[in-house]
Symmetry: C2
Subunit: 109 residues, 2 copies
Amino acid sequence: MGKPNDLVQGTLDLLILKTLSLDAMHGWAIAKRIQQVSGEVLQVQQGSLYPALHRLEQQGWIKAKWQESETGRQAKFYALTAAGRKQLEAEAANWSRLSAAINLIVSEV
Amino acid sequence: MGKPNDLVQGTLDLLILKTLSLDAMHGWAIAKRIQQVSGEVLQVQQGSLYPALHRLEQQGWIKAKWQESETGRQAKFYALTAAGRKQLEAEAANWSRLSAAINLIVSEV
DNA sequence: AAAGTTGTGTAGACCGTCAAGGTATCAAGG
DNA sequence: CCTTGATACCTTGACGGTCTACACAACTTT
């Protein structure tokens, strides 16, 4: 099933921020949730996930805290910051703008 | 105007193929047309355009022919091949699939 | 004469993703 | 007890598409 690309380049930050806006969770859970909600279409590789999380944390858009996971193990829970909420809005707007523009082309007659 | 990214990474091939499916045209005109049809949202830089055209030609999806442009100058006109039409279908389907999946996440409540 | 438009092209840097590996803990099955 | 699989974190290196910034050429406009 894994088609050529499992992600659209540049949208991972948006996906993570949006997912975290619903609930704080750890990296592993974020990946699982994106995969599940997208109907198994989007696959987040760990080599994409963790660098992205560190990137977002460094930008101050998310904040990490070690906590016990549902399975009783220590896991790094990420939560959206205020700046992250703003960034999410900006990225979501940008995505709408760009995907709408692309659809204009694709549906051209 | 010029936001961070003028394109969504990985969609340029689709945009070019789709544009050429309506009419054979030269590179410069392709870029202008994408920009115009998208309402000036999508900007195709020359450093993206020409490599992409060469890539597509090498894949056998488009074919070049020198012809006189509307302004009376020589220009390289590109036309979609049969394989290119197939590729366009595949890329369009993939875009639908992926963008729909992303929208599922983004519009999550 | 200079500047702008059309038109093609390249070089190098940038950066996000992917493939592939590593570490560790815990649960379940043989 | 030992292995397998799931959970959970992480890094390294390669890859590839896009961007910035150039260069070149011909023709038009100011």
